[in-house]
Symmetry: C2
Subunit: 479 residues, 2 copies
């Protein structure tokens, strides 16, 4: 039992040091490795397989709404990046610049895309002439680069993978509709597929995307009480269209500016999965996103018939779930710990006594509950169990989230909660940026969003200045 | 009929100017657009959908052989790129360099990956200790950058999409086996999925990959008689392992260097599809890779019941093939020409008279043959027709290829063929690079490969110097 102890002991407990626990899990569950390039990560097979599942499901949902995929160049000429004033101010400080191509210095330096609004605008300008050409609902899957100073695997790295949707519409209303549609698609995806409850809402002016008229966001609560922005959707109005000259002739033959949106989700979702569901034994993966859903572990595998039975179980279960068998020469104890570390939703234990009794043991990763199961019912039981785990994981995360939402009616309460109670803080706001700035500077919490579905007025006055309140805001410490 | 004429007339005939025909097709079939970055292309929805189908099928075939996907950083520090001498000499002249990150100059410049051997080696060095850690069979889907001077859409662009597999093995033999396995996988994929016959073989020393011990290739013949290298697979021996220090302890506890391979296919395959199958009406897509396999076109669609019937047909056919209906307000003639331009394998015409007669008309894109089909048999007939088209397209491409393979027994014959007969030239070679260099310099043909499956000795002496011949070589002009 020495080895399995060691495997588990190497993870720092999340209560002792959450940041270290997180780093331990991403490394020990073999999701990432560090690379020769500071701030850039290597996504290993088990990490990338999670991303493939996310991609596959999101892409399916996108295409149901009429999204078409394209691929744009990874480079943006400096002059193009500079065309929209707010946008370049937001991104220029954190881009990587290519200044040499082959053996020659470039005439104009190129940045590696931090996001592709400017490239899409330049493309759309040539593509769109008439109302017949609208809408355009394009998306790309790619990597982007932002030269961050502090980096953390999945959460903030200099290069990350994402999708970025960029759409063009004839009217502001249609753009707004698409913006909200995609935010809701993101939220449903997080809740249904990642078992991760989110708050849907609008960002304040201060926190919105560089160049947007409105930014919508989904915010999830991590196990340590910090918020993680998990997906955003932006309505650009006609701002980019005016900067880039994207115009179309309408049905009455008048020249009009077009309206645009963009929306994105990234590999940071993997960080969210870890911090919403993980525990001190390691990763806990919701069944729908888990690359391996079931691991069959033979007990006393050298005894006659055990390995055969384990392989047979693996084959049968393979028809209803993504199943593997661990027949390596490690001890069962080591395999149990390894399965737990990797967050595999269900492990199936089968040994000589089980075979004699015509049963096996199912063990849930999320609750560690052990369930006896007749061998001839295993497909049905495992299918049901995976569904139950998915549902329970969402409910548990939601209960945790709901138990960490605190109301603050005045500044003293806000201060007390910000300092002592991890989680979301609900508080009213006057909509003046001075108050938002003060709260951020003094209490180190930021406005996460003005929620869509929570219109309660918990006070009549701004939590900061005491003037009449206009909006309910969720505040929090954030990744 | 003015519009459909115009649509077709805008393509240059391939007999007049093949290069211009190619450019016209990629633009008019809406596969790509040019971007603000010289030499980088925008892959539009119809082009990207072809790539998605290629990706999906290749990835499925990879995974059947145990390949796991990962993601490596897009940047390579200069010192890492320089570790393997031949490799850096091959790539340094054509890489793009990042010299600034955020507002600061970088301490060490980073190149944007032209290929990722060096990154994988650096990763594997830390990952592999024991024979138990072998083999590693990793792959990534990403974009790479090579700062080419002359560029052409899909065939040669400064950024392109590809997959690059990188594997590590305990022995040379195992590495060799994987190298050949992947080349055969590529060849089967091209023949079965893209209906594109290929010659499988080995590159000469001169033409092999920078840093490889052996490079295997598949070579396809384009309609103009030029060859296109369509996929390569490299056996590195232990060369990279020695340069990077990738060692493992074997079962006898001895330290050994590991053996490696890499293999890749790119978006240039889309260029190959165009140039193998296309004609003067535009693109011709093999059914398996076609994003839309069937287009239903209503005739006199304003007459009662026609649109309903067309939509019903589309729905029924949607269950057996990727089907769309074109109910736009364009004329049928325009729609036919548009369908042909886009290379959609089958169009289904349905008008009032057809409905009355309980039939529709199927039109093959590849032969333009019209086939009457009873409405109640349409699913079966279309399914069969798609299979037939796939098979016929392969056979036609193979017949064309085989009719353009010429044998040269001596230099005069070689010169005559190189100057007058487009296609592959089979000729014997002494294995001296001087002869290879001379043929390239004087006749502008290069050695494409030494074939696996064609061991015929068409002469006893080298086609160039007359000394005893060792190998049969396929020569050709190449993209």
């Amino acid at each position: 039992m020495a080895m399995d102890k060691k495997l588990v002991e190497e993870i720092t407990s999340m209560e002792v040091d959450f940041a270290q626990w997180y780093t331990d899990v991403v490394k020990k569950a073999e999701l990432i490795d560090y690379s020769a390039v500071k701030g850039c990560m290597i996504i290993k097979p088990d990490g990338y397989a999670i991303w493939e599942n996310i991609q596959h499901e999101l892409d399916r949902r996108f295409k149901e709404t009429g999204v078409q995929n394209v691929y744009m160049p990874m480079f943006i000429p400096e002059s193009l990046l500079e065309k929209e004033k707010d946008h370049v101010e937001g991104f220029a400080p954190e881009v990587a610049w290519v200044t040499q191509g082959g053996l020659q210095p470039l005439q104009e330096k190129l940045c590696v895309r931090p996001t592709s609004e400017t490239l899409f605008c330049d493309f759309y300008k040539g593509l769109i002439q008439s109302y017949r050409d609208l809408p355009k609902v394009y998306n790309q899957w790619c990597s982007v680069v932002r030269w961050e100073k502090e980096t953390r695997p999945f959460l903030r790295s200099r290069e990350f993978l994402w999708q970025e949707g960029h759409t063009v519409h004839a009217t502001f209303e249609e753009a707004e509709e698409r913006t909200v549609q995609m935010l809701n698609l993101y939220a449903d995806f997080c809740e249904e597929f990642l078992a991760m409850p989110v708050v849907r809402g609008r960002k304040t002016e201060k926190e919105k995307f560089a160049g947007a008229e409105a930014t919508y966001t989904i915010e999830a609560l991590m196990h340590d009480g910090k918020a993680l922005q998990s997906g955003t959707s932006h309505n650009f109005g006609d701002g980019f269209a005016r900067a880039f000259g994207i115009q179309y002739t309408d049905k009455e033959n008048h020249l009009q500016y077009a309206y645009q949106t963009s929306w994105g989700m990234t590999t940071r979702l993997i960080g969210a999965i870890i911090m919403v569901h993980g525990d001190n034994e390691g990763l806990v993966l919701p069944p729908k996103v888990a690359p391996t859903q079931v691991m069959v572990i033979p007990i006393q595998q050298k005894k006659e018939g055990v390995l055969e039975k384990a392989n047979e179980l693996c084959e049968r279960l393979g028809r209803v779930a993504r199943t593997k068998v661990d027949s390596s020469d490690k001890s069962p104890g080591w395999k149990f710990a390894d399965c737990e570390m990797r967050g595999i939703p269900v492990r199936v234990e089968i040994g000589p006594k089980d075979i004699e009794a015509g049963k096996c043991v199912l063990v849930r990763r999320d609750t560690r509950e052990k369930i006896e199961c007749a061998l001839d019912e295993v497909e049905t039981k495992v299918t049901e169990l995976l569904e139950t785990i998915q549902k329970d994981m969402f409910q548990r995360a939601k209960d945790h989230r709901d138990a960490h939402i605190w109301d603050a009616k005045n500044y003293d309460e806000l201060k007390d909660i910000a300092e002592n109670k991890p989680g979301f803080i609900r508080a009213m706001w006057c909509e003046e940026q001075d108050c938002e700035d003060k709260i951020k500077a003094e209490l180190a919490v930021t406005s996460r969003c003005m929620p869509f579905h929570d219109q309660e007025r918990i006070a009549e006055t701004c939590v900061c200045c005491g003037k009449p309140a206009k909006k309910l805001v969720y505040w929090g410490k954030a990744y």
